[in-house]
Amino acid sequence: MINAFLDSDVIISSLISILGASYQLINNKNINCFISNISYKELLLVVKRLNIDEKKLKAVVKEKLKIVKLSQNLKQIKLNYKNCVKDLNDAHIVAGAVESKVNFLITFNLKDFEINRIKEKYNIKIMSPGTFLQFLRSK
């Protein structure tokens, strides 16, 4: 099994289309998918904003995802991970990946993360869902 932390854009995309790479990833039995308690709070607000059925999200979270509880509050997280992101508001995603002890962070938003720094400091590789699935095929 491979452990991966999923950014919220991947979770939301999997709820919107069953034909996408995000849906495939979440339903891949060889991957343990993680989100954080802060991501979950965020996801509940995003589904509301996008008029996606909240029940769909709750079912995916219950059946497919593991929630890691972050030990720090958002203010501390932003301070600790400010060098890992271009937008401070994304810092909790890096914190979630670090505290989940995964080696992969899956996101569509590659440009907003300091990919090389995160890899060097935490040994976490950042890639898109399609690239990650391709990587799994090569193993």
Partner: protein, 88 residues
């Protein structure tokens, strides 16, 4: 993405060998083993662009299409996430 680029829809085994940096014999071997899908027309092979997508996009054709499916809604998804994150 690839639809907007002027690329041929089929390749010869020699062209595929060049794209994938393999020998011509290896390409014929891969065709024989079914790892590269090709169409035999008379005595020659033609290889559809979908068989060499990996070299062009870094992904197999099916994964490329799957990710493209996600991209259809990505702008509004990213926008909603950004707005929510600002107010967390």
């Amino acid at each position: 993405m690839l639809n907007q680029i002027n690329i041929p829809q089929t390749y010869t085994p020699e062209q595929v060998a060049s794209i994938l940096q393999l020998t011509k014999n290896t390409v014929y071997d891969l065709i024989g083993r079914g790892e590269i899908i090709a169409k035999k027309i008379g005595k020659v092979y033609r290889i559809p662009v979908t068989s060499v997508y990996f070299a062009l996009t870094g992904m197999d054709y099916d994964l490329y299409l799957s990710e493209k499916e996600d991209f259809k809604n990505l702008d509004r998804v990213e926008k909603a996430i950004k707005e929510v994150r600002k107010n967390l």
